[in-house]
Amino acid sequence: MVMRDLAAEQLSKMQAIVIEGMRRSSQVLSEMTGREIGLLNPVIGLVPISRIPDIAGGGECEAVGVYLGVDGDICAHTILLFPRKSAFELIDLLLERPLGTTTELDEMGRSCLGEVGNITGSFFLNALAEKSGLLMRPTPPEVIQDMVGAILSMVLAELSVESDEGFMVETAFAEKTKAINGFFFVIPVCGSLEKIMESLGAGC
């Protein structure tokens, strides 16, 4: 499989780009909320597709996912995934309400998380575009609440066509003492991973 041939060097370049993108998005989130929102050590890796839902809390775990497509020179999908409780706490933080206020996903919460997904995805893409010189455009976010496995299923189906592994970043936003766990999936499809790696190999 293509993924397995990824050189450690390329993987670490990718990791640096992800961290840079996430760092910038946490800055924007801090500005948005007027609170210091940091980012906890992102862990990055290639994971067998059959195990990806387990890593994000288990296939049945109730979560909120923000999907963002990518087109342009490459074709990819990104999903920012928060366990239900984390998603609701993040909404409370963003809306400056006491933690625990949000108990279901309403339109306001949905648009809040859509915006977080938009920011995280866009900043990651910007960082990647800068380093690779490839053109990338994010699509508008789509927010759903369901089981982790179900949220990831369509994207993993497309990935399954060409690989048995997926590229994944695990991270958490944190505000003072409150860590909000989230998972950020980047799934390049249609040969886009090779394209990105080629550009990175030549570019930096």
Binding site: S50, E60, I151, S153, A157, S160
Partner: protein, 163 residues
Amino acid sequence: MADEVIAVGLGEIKLSSSPGSVLVCYGLGSCVGVSLYDVRHRIAGLAHVVLPSSSIARATDMVGKFADTAIPALLEALVEMGAAKSAIEAKITGGAKMFSAPSLSNVLDVGSKNVVAVKEALKASGLTLVAEDCGGSYGRTMQVFVRDGRVRIRTIGKSEVEL
């Protein structure tokens, strides 16, 4: 006594003849869980199908990923374990459409295509589909009880379905 839970991940096939065990696909979305159960010998097999056809994919050794290869492989493994094909009943669930974003155009219909392909593959293998709960836009956890072949389907915010 707690049942032994055997998780079946994406593209995997698992079997069991131990009466106390439960085969489970957690959080099926567009994927389809296919349960084949020999009612006579009480042997169960569960496949977690991700895509309709192996012809569109790059080579892989995960036959369980595709409807057209998963069902023959699951049947063969069951027969090897002592199951009688004539006593096998099939039950399926999943095949939902979770997102509608245009950028997912390649997989927008993957759920319904999976269901169609699974049914075709069952027919091609000469197996009888006795029950199904497919489609919609929500996730499902599918449990297959080896003791009696019952299938229980959990969702979020809906009542449990039994097949």
